[in-house]
């Protein structure tokens, strides 16, 4: 088997070698770079999609949170107004009850006063009658004779009236 010289160059070998590198370029591109780039692009697309979904979910959660905060604030205001209403109603009811009780108590007191006045007047009448009777019997005993009760009473009444007038004049 013959050999070439150590330093030798052959046109055909140069061309073949040139073509070899070109062919290997195509092979490497087709069998290494294209599949790997495809899978990397696919992974990138998947990751992008996941990120987009996460962003979307986050935005939705934030919107929900805002909504709930609003709703909570609304509920609190509603509760506050309910409590205020109830307090107002209770206060009003209490006032009404108090007024009623006061007016009823006033009525009772007034009635009692009236009754007391009536009683007093009746007692005065009684006292007056007693005095008349007493004076009649005393006068009868003093005079020794019986004067008619009717006359006597009229007399005493006039006397008492006179007394009252004097008392009023004083």
């Amino acid at each position: 088997m013959q050999s070439l010289g150590v330093i030798s160059i052959n046109l055909w070998q140069v061309l073949i070698s040139l073509a070899n590198l070109g062919i290997l370029f195509l092979l490497v591109k087709k069998f290494l770079f294209q599949p790997v780039r495809n899978i990397l692009a696919q992974r990138q697309a998947h990751v992008d999609q996941l990120y987009a979904e996460a962003d979307e979910a986050k935005a939705k959660a934030e919107a929900d949170q805002g909504l709930w905060a609003e709703r909570m604030a609304g509920a609190r205001a509603e509760a506050d107004s309910l409590i205020a209403d109830a307090r107002e109603a209770a206060r009003r009811t209490g006032d009404i009850l108090l007024d009623e009780a006061k007016s009823r108590a006033d009525g009772i007191v007034r009635q009692a006063e009236e009754e007391a006045e009536l009683e007093k007047r009746r007692a005065e009448e009684e006292v007056r009658r007693e005095m008349a009777d007493l004076s009649t019997s005393l006068a009868g005993k003093l005079l020794g004779r019986e004067i008619s009760a009717e006359d006597h009473r009229a007399l005493i009444d006039s006397f008492l009236d006179e007394l009252d007038q004097q008392k009023g004049a004083l």
């Binding site: 088997m1 013959q2 050999s3 070439l4 010289g5 150590v6 330093i7 030798s8 160059i9 052959n10 046109l11 055909w12 070998q13 140069v14 061309l15 073949i16 070698s17 040139l18 073509a19 070899n20 590198l21 070109g22 062919i23 290997l24 370029f25 092979l27 490497v28 591109k29 069998f31 290494l32 770079f33 599949p35 790997v36 780039r37 495809n38 899978i39 990397l40 696919q42 992974r43 998947h46």
Partner: protein, 306 residues
């Protein structure tokens, strides 16, 4: 499921065979065709086929169609690399479950990072596979010497073919905005510099080819010389031992292995890296990116308006 897993394992085994068998074939070819020789022999690629039987094989420049083990080994390496690509990218998942998918993605991302770092993001899509191919072909071709076969990169024609392709790409990128701008890239600094520019431009493929070829070939030459010297030293020192014992070159154990780590592995990988780096720098540096983008957008704008 089980059926699927078994067929997947079968495909894996086929692809691993696709990676390993070419290397075994290269070794077998080398063993079958190496003549038993005495002494130090440093020669180029073995010629397996020649279209012209009377061709002068010792000519420095020849135009006869010949096939040498540089070509054969290149093709075998290409088959191996293709098998490796297929093996790495088999059964890709969106959520990676296999180590080889990580390796495949690591390779792609590293090469794309290298290209975008040296040439800018504009070239990543179109150029990353080419840089990856250059790196793989150059590195694995140099590493072929590890299994004892002829490394295609220590053949000048092979590396010259790559350098010519790179030169064509450089020129194509430089001239993509018309011949006027291509000429202006040389003459913009005056006539004297223009001559130097043209010389350096023409020198590019030569320098790339000879740099790569020279580094790998010199490593091989030094390895052979050291091995031969150690063999001589061994027979000198241990020759007094009786019988076959004196014939064993014991001193060859050790030092050639360390030299091989440097020349075959380190230098091979380094030259691949340098070749790819220079490719990127020349193409990226020669490409009038702003001009191209300006023209491209100017050409696209009326289309968009219409």
């Amino acid at each position: 499921m089980n059926e699927k897993a078994r067929s997947g394992r079968g495909a894996d085994i086929l692809l691993i065979l696709m990676m390993v068998l070419p290397l075994v074939a290269a070794m077998a070819l080398k063993i079958l065709n190496t003549p038993a020789s005495e002494g130090v022999v440093i020669e180029g690629a073995m010629v397996y086929f020649s279209a012209n039987p009377n061709a002068d094989l010792n000519a420095v420049i020849s135009t006869d169609l010949i096939i040498t083990d540089a070509q054969i080994n290149s093709w075998l390496v290409m088959i191996s690399i293709t098998g490796l690509c297929l093996f790495l990218t088999r059964d890709l998942r969106e959520k990676p479950v296999s180590a080889r998918q990580h390796v495949a993605e690591w390779i792609v991302e590293k090469v794309e990072g290298l290209v975008s770092g040296n040439m800018g993001d504009f070239h990543v899509n179109s150029f990353a596979p080419f840089v990856c191919a250059v790196l793989a072909l150059s590195a694995f071709s140099s590493l072929m010497s590890l299994i004892g076969v002829f490394a295609p990169t220590s053949d000048l024609s092979t590396v010259a073919g790559w350098a010519v392709l790179v030169f064509l790409i450089i020129t194509a990128y430089k001239a993509c905005c018309g011949p006027r701008i291509y000429v202006r890239s040389f003459t913009s600094d005056g006539p004297v510099v223009a001559v130097l520019n043209v010389i350096s431009e023409v020198a590019t493929p030569f320098s790339m080819a000879f740099r790569h070829y020279g580094n790998v070939m010199s490593g091989a030459v030094i390895s052979v010389l050291v091995a031969a010297a150690l063999k001589g030293l061994s027979s000198l020192v241990l020759g007094w031992l009786p019988g076959a014992l004196g014939q064993i070159p014991l001193l060859q154990v050790g030092l050639p292995a360390i030299l091989s780590i440097y020349f075959d592995i380190f230098s091979g990988a380094l030259q691949a890296y340098i070749f790819a780096m220079l490719t990127m720098l020349y193409v990226g540096g020669g490409f009038p990116e702003e001009e191209y983008i300006a023209r491209h957008s100017a050409a696209a704008a009326p289309k968009a308006a219409a």
